[in-house]
């Protein structure tokens, strides 16, 4: 079976020569289309089944994240960041908090670092599972999809136990967290892990070595390494091309330098590599969470600075100093010294950057987010030109575009 599906289309002269005249077809895939989970429109120029050109039209979920942040205090931005990458809201929370903390120049507590690592990895698993499950769904394996989201459901239940909400977590605060991890976390995590193992085993049996799946994934959606770098692609996409780049490794934040983990990289940069990398990263994340639970020290999860974090409740109830700090912080917002900072973390799809400019008031002057999948979707026309329309589906899925993140 032919694995290479690159087909050059005929030029007009060649068409004239062989007497075959074809007409291009414009196909609008989206904005509401089964393949475009999230909302995105692809305008395809097709020649038969071959894509001649592709124009991704994003912005259907644009809700003015950056403008809203300019009109809110620094703490108010947390619910907005929840909705950026809705598959892994914890990572966005952590990324934003780290950016503001970098601008403030404060150091968070040890336990908080571990908790943040745990929740980041937890939601990295959730994000990767969503991606894997959605990829299988788009290729017709509905059963695999449901096994995948079953495990994700377990993670959501765990998330709800941690912070009280399944998706819109708003768990992280500048200088710490809203609350410590619940006591039952470690036990509950073991249950989640068992379920995850079981479901991943079933998924592997169903599609892991199934030729139909492998044929769909291998040698499709390839972007060569130079172009990928030039486009600014990061994350599993770039690692699938064989580039050993991971923010957790290149510029370790939180406690990633204290953990023992490996960075899986691919060789060819096709969909299959991305799929395998995500699977391998789920394993790595599981091991990282286990290590964190082992190493995690006791202690507070918030720093002891009432100019940044809210004082403890009983202090607020009973002492005038705490009460005043509380009021100042709520009414005026967190005062961040003027400056500008670009902070980067490893989101589930790649480098998640926050660029924050402060003018010294309680509201940020500018918040800009660099969504990781933005640059991947920008490269999509380059990947898909000359390929079959059916290859668009797994490619788009392994790119893992998240509407909330790319449209902001």
């Amino acid at each position: 079976m032919s694995t290479e599906t690159v087909r050059e289309y005929l030029t007009e002269e060649e068409e004239d020569r062989i007497g075959l005249h074809t007409q291009e077809m414009i196909l609008n895939m989206g904005p509401s289309h089964p393949a475009t989970h999230g909302t995105v429109k692809f305008t395809l120029r097709l020649e038969g089944e071959t894509i001649r050109d592709l124009d991704p039209d994003i912005g259907y979920l644009h809700r003015g994240f950056e403008k809203m942040c300019e009109n809110a205090t620094y703490t108010h931005a947390f619910p907005y960041t929840d909705r950026l990458n809705y598959c892994s809201p914890f990572i966005n929370n952590v990324g934003y908090a780290l950016a503001v903390e970098k601008l403030l120049g404060i150091e968070i507590t040890e336990r908080c670092k571990y908790v943040r690592t745990i929740i980041s990895e937890l939601h990295r698993i959730s994000d990767h599972l969503t991606c894997l499950a959605a990829t299988s769904l788009e290729l017709g394996a509905f059963t695999v999809f449901l096994y995948g989201v079953q495990s994700r459901e377990e993670i959501y239940v765990l998330t709800e136990e941690i912070c009280g909400a399944r998706l819109t977590v708003s768990y992280v605060r500048i200088g710490g967290l809203t609350d410590d991890l619940p006591e039952s976390f470690a036990d509950h995590w073991k249950l989640v892990k068992r379920r995850l193992d079981k479901n991943l085993y079933d998924i592997d049996k169903l599609i892991g070595r199934n030729r139909i799946f492998i044929d769909r994934m291998q040698n499709t959606g390839i972007l060569d390494t130079e172009t990928a770098i030039s486009y600014g692609c990061t994350g599993p996409f770039l690692r699938a091309c064989g580039v050993e780049y991971d923010v957790r490794d290149a510029a370790p934040y939180l406690v990633y330098d204290r953990l023992d983990w490996t960075m899986p990289t691919g060789t060819r940069g096709d969909n299959w590599d991305r799929f395998l990398i995500r699977l391998a990263e789920i394993e790595q994340s599981i091991s990282m969470i286990d290590q964190c639970i082992e190493q995690m020290p006791e202690g507070p999860v918030r720093i002891d600075d009432w100019r940044v974090v809210l004082p403890p409740k009983d202090e607020v109830y009973n002492s005038i100093e705490a009460m005043m700090a509380h009021f100042k912080l709520i009414m005026e917002g967190l005062k961040v010294p003027p400056g500008e900072v670009y902070s980067y973390t490893e989101g589930a799809n790649g480098e998640l950057g926050f660029f924050i400019v402060s003018d010294g008031s309680g509201k940020p002057s500018r918040v800009h987010v660099r969504p990781p999948c933005y640059h991947l979707v920008a490269a999509l026309p380059e990947i898909m030109r000359g390929k079959l329309i059916q290859d668009l589906v797994p490619t788009f899925d392994t790119i893992n575009m998240i509407g909330g993140e790319i449209d902001r």
């Binding site: 609350d179 050993e244 490794d249 109830y317 009973n318």
Partner: protein, 191 residues
């Protein structure tokens, strides 16, 4: 530009791509493996629902965890009046501006302010929990364990002071800076 410069990392571990074996190339063995998994699930779910994860919702309900951020409630004083002193902290902290408070004056009492109106528009609310965090007197909480219910009109989604108070209870949180208040630190936020 075309320099083969690549970042190198100790952690990196390229994985091997296993080529398909002849048996795998024949399609049928892998299909057989898949059929075994699905048939196992089918049989075990028909006879005993071993793996079934779906809850049949209205009859069976999953308990919400302790920290679940549900519908709001207003806590009461001992005489049943709201603990709220209309300090506007929650409405300021609310990112979606869903809390409306109109303060009233109580000249004869030591606590001078009270909320004449306290309304939460549940359609605007995003259940982030920031109002609870912002409350300096443990007056508003989201631990009712009730999730927001759909309504037939927008007006019904606005709950007023009475509705919030009805869901509330008395709290043991002491407040007011009495002598020895630092000792009260062990008192938990939740009852």
């Amino acid at each position: 530009m075309k320099q083969p410069l690549r970042p190198k990392s100790e952690r990196a571990k390229p994985f091997e791509r296993r080529e398909m074996t002849f048996a795998e190339k024949l399609f049928y063995p892998a299909i057989w493996e898949g059929l075994k998994v699905t048939t196992k699930h089918l049989v075990e779910n028909i006879f005993g629902r071993k793996h079934t994860v779906t809850l049949e919702y209205p009859e069976v309900q999953r308990p919400y965890p302790e920290r679940f951020r549900g519908q709001h409630r207003l806590m009461q004083r001992d005489d049943g009046s709201p603990r709220c002193v209309a300090c506007m902290c929650c409405s300021t902290a609310c990112p979606s501006n869903c809390i409306t408070i109109v303060a009233g004056e109580r000249p004869e009492e030591t606590i001078e302010k009270f909320p004449m109106r306290f309304e939460i528009d549940l359609l605007k609310c995003i259940y982030c929990g920031m109002c609870v965090e912002a409350c300096p007197c443990d007056a508003i909480r989201m631990d009712s364990g009730v999730h927001p219910k759909p309504t037939y009109n927008r007006q019904a989604a606005i709950i007023d002071k009475e509705g919030l108070l009805a869901a509330g209870a008395k709290t043991i949180a002491t407040q007011g800076g009495t002598f020895g208040s630092r000792v009260a630190g062990h008192l938990k936020k939740h009852i």
